[in-house]
């Protein structure tokens, strides 16, 4: 399993860089990971709004939220989410939120 060193901590990640031990997630992980996802500087309030929404949804439902639902509930346009997370909601925001990648017909 590849390991990723971020801010002095070591995390197990998969080949795509998604965190493998979900309980190892902490806000510092998201902040330290941000530059690798093409996000400069401190994560903004809107970044955190989205990350926290995803984590709360995951907590309740055991999976990432649908993109349509995420946009509606957070009141973000998809285009704005791509501006915040250049790899997009599934591969960027979910990665920083410490979730794994959904697989199947998606």
């Amino acid at each position: 399993m590849p390991e990723l060193e971020l801010g002095g901590n070591t995390y197990e990640v998969d080949e795509d860089g998604f965190l493998q031990q979900l309980d190892k997630w902490n806000p510092q992980f998201a902040q330290d990971y941000a530059p690798l996802e093409g996000i400069d500087g401190e994560l903004t309030e809107d970044h955190w709004k989205l990350i926290n929404y995803i984590r709360d949804y995951y907590e309740e439902y055991g999976i990432a939220p649908m993109i349509r639902k995420l946009c509606k509930d957070c009141k973000f346009k998809l285009k704005y989410i791509y501006e915040m997370f250049p790899s997009g909601p599934a591969k960027g925001a979910c990665k920083l939120a410490g979730l794994s990648k959904p697989t199947g017909c998606v």
């Binding site: 399993m1 998969d14 080949e15 439902y61 055991g62 999976i63 349509r68 697989t103 199947g104 017909c105």
Partner: protein, 546 residues
């Protein structure tokens, strides 16, 4: 549509570079040409945790690019035994190993060959990778004459070659259409993959869905509360657009019909719009039906794994139909589900004699073709509704779409459902153009991401495999101004977005029931302003701006 390539394509070569395909085979004989694993041309291996869920052999960490694949010590014996078992068990396998005369009719019919020029992606040669070992191990001529009889020895390099090429086949069966013997090349790939699984060699994009299906009932791993949350969300969305309050029955015992869709439909866009379309249509009909949180997956990634796995996953749908006491089953816009239902279900889990012959409660039509499986395709169901004038439709609501139709491989070739989707599309939209005839119907070209290959790490392979389909879309885009590619398969709805972004930029992918629901005039609906995607309906653009 943004002019920039989406992020997953950012590192890919430009289409012009990718199209510079060298069709000249390498100088050295094919048996001596080793495979070269490099980023972009293979899929990541199955994670050990997923193999453990499924109780499959040899869970471990390994990587295709590394020399040591950490195979069991007796790997050769395992493969020999595995092959022998299957030759005894499946007459089709034995037949397909014996009868090919290498005429080459299939050679240039594969999208992966056309897009890569790699001769081992000619279906005939891809099958030879397995046949050569069969000859060497199981035929007298091969044992005595070796290479002269087209036989070769089983080595680690052969196993690596199998892994490489059997995961560069989407089991689409276009080649089989042209085979004078009717060899089902997908079944050869399936056998190759079954054998590889005996050694713990598989890909995660196929096996995580299978493992999830065992844990939660669907490929995506969605739990019952998430399933309900998604459907409730669609109902709310539909109500905002139409003003009609929609009930979504889940796990309703005694309902007449069980409805099953691929989980991508209630998770990923644009399938979610088609999913919204289903519930709007059923509400309008007042259909006595139910969704199920247990049979929450129409797709069956077992088809990309092994016969045993197909059977185990398919059985869930019928077990749930029995538990709920429904009369028959209606299936959504799914692709390979229909290959399983039409060609394997009856032998593996049938007969479903506890169910009744499907009859449309709205039109009284008997679906005699579904007599053995008791499962009807939604496109048959909806086409029948339209034929009997049971739907009020306003196709002009889809006037912003200039549509072409991609026949999904399995519904087209494994089921022959060719007219119904066209009939439905022509009734719900006014602008429809066909792609060239050698790229549609039975001859349809694959999206390049089926059979578990729809992931990102093999993007080079996917884009190459998507070239013939993308090229045909590009043709009608340039000729007729086509801006929408309709399809009825969740893998298509996910992977054709990438194919279009790359090969026919500006063409959007849509499901068919999304368009049906846009056109559907519902009782008590308000003056609709937008389509299901929230975009202004044609003619309503100005009102939206005010």
């Amino acid at each position: 549509m943004s002019s920039e390539l989406p992020p997953e394509l950012a590192d890919s070569p430009k289409p012009k570079e990718l199209m510079a395909i060298d069709y000249r085979p390498p100088q050295q004989p094919w048996m001596e040409t080793p495979v070269n694993f490099k980023p972009g041309n293979y899929c990541f291996p199955t994670k050990a945790k997923n193999l453990r869920v499924l109780d499959m052999p040899n869970p471990r960490e390994w990587a295709p690019e590394e020399e040591d694949w950490k195979l069991p010590e007796n790997w050769m014996e395992i493969i020999r035994e595995g092959m022998k078992d299957r030759l005894d068990k499946y007459r089709s396998f034995k037949l397909f190993m014996d009868i090919c005369v290498r005429c080459g009719a299939c050679a240039d019919k594969c999208h992966f060959f056309l897009g890569s020029g790699d001769p081992k992606n000619m279906p005939v040669l891809r099958a030879e990778l397995l046949r050569s070992v069969y000859r060497g191990e199981f035929t007298k001529a091969g044992k005595i004459l070796g290479k002269l009889a087209g036989a070769r020895k089983l080595t680690i390099d052969v196993i690596k070659e199998w892994f490489y090429y059997f995961y560069q086949c989407t089991e689409c069966r276009r080649c089989s259409v042209f085979c004078p013997y009717g060899i089902d090349t997908a079944e050869i790939t399936m056998m190759g993959r079954e054998l590889l699984h005996l050694l713990g060699l598989g890909i995660n994009w196929a096996m995580e869905p299978v493992a999830n299906c065992f844990r939660t009932g669907n490929h995506l791993g969605i739990l019952p509360n998430g399933f309900k949350d998604a459907l409730d969300f669609f109902a709310e969305d539909a109500e905002e657009i139409t003003g009609v309050k929609i009930d979504v029955p889940i796990n309703k015992k005694g309902a007449e019909i069980l409805f099953v869709v691929p989980s991508g439909d209630y998770f990923g866009d644009p399938g979610t719009y088609t999913c919204t379309g289903y519930i709007m249509l059923f509400h309008e009909l007042g259909l006595d039906y139910t969704w199920s949180t247990y049979a929450s997956e129409g797709g069956n990634f077992g088809l990309f794994t092994s016969h045993e796995m197909i059977k185990r996953l398919n059985a869930k749908i019928y077990a749930e139909a029995k538990r709920l006491g429904v009369k028959w089953i209606l299936g959504g816009e799914c692709g390979h589900m229909w290959r399983v239902v039409n060609q394997y279900m009856d032998t593996m889990n049938g007969p479903a004699d506890f169910l009744e012959e499907p009859v449309s409660p709205i039109t009284g039509t008997k679906f005699e073709n579904a007599n053995s499986t008791k499962m009807v395709h939604i496109m048959e169901f909806t086409a029948d509704l339209i034929r009997h004038n049971k739907l009020r439709l306003d196709p002009s609501r889809n006037d912003n779409r200039i549509v072409t139709f991609h026949d999904s491989c399995n519904p087209a070739r494994a089921m022959g459902i060719l007219e119904e989707p066209r009939y439905v599309i022509k009734n719900v939209c006014n602008n429809f153009y066909e792609m060239p005839e050698n790229t549609i119907r039975e001859q349809t070209f694959c999206c390049g991401g089926g059979a578990g290959l729809g992931t990102d790490e093999n993007m080079d392979t996917r884009l190459r495999g998507g070239l013939p389909r993308g090229n045909a879309v590009r043709y009608v885009q340039e000729k007729h101004g086509v801006n929408s590619l309709a399809c009825m398969c969740a893998i298509d709805r996910a992977t054709l977005i990438t194919v279009c972004d790359y090969w026919a930029r500006g063409v959007e992918v849509t499901g068919i029931h999304e368009m049906v629901a846009n056109a559907l005039i519902m009782r008590g609906e308000k003056d609709r302003q937008t389509d299901l995607r929230g975009e202004p309906l044609p003619g309503k653009e100005d009102e939206e701006d005010v």
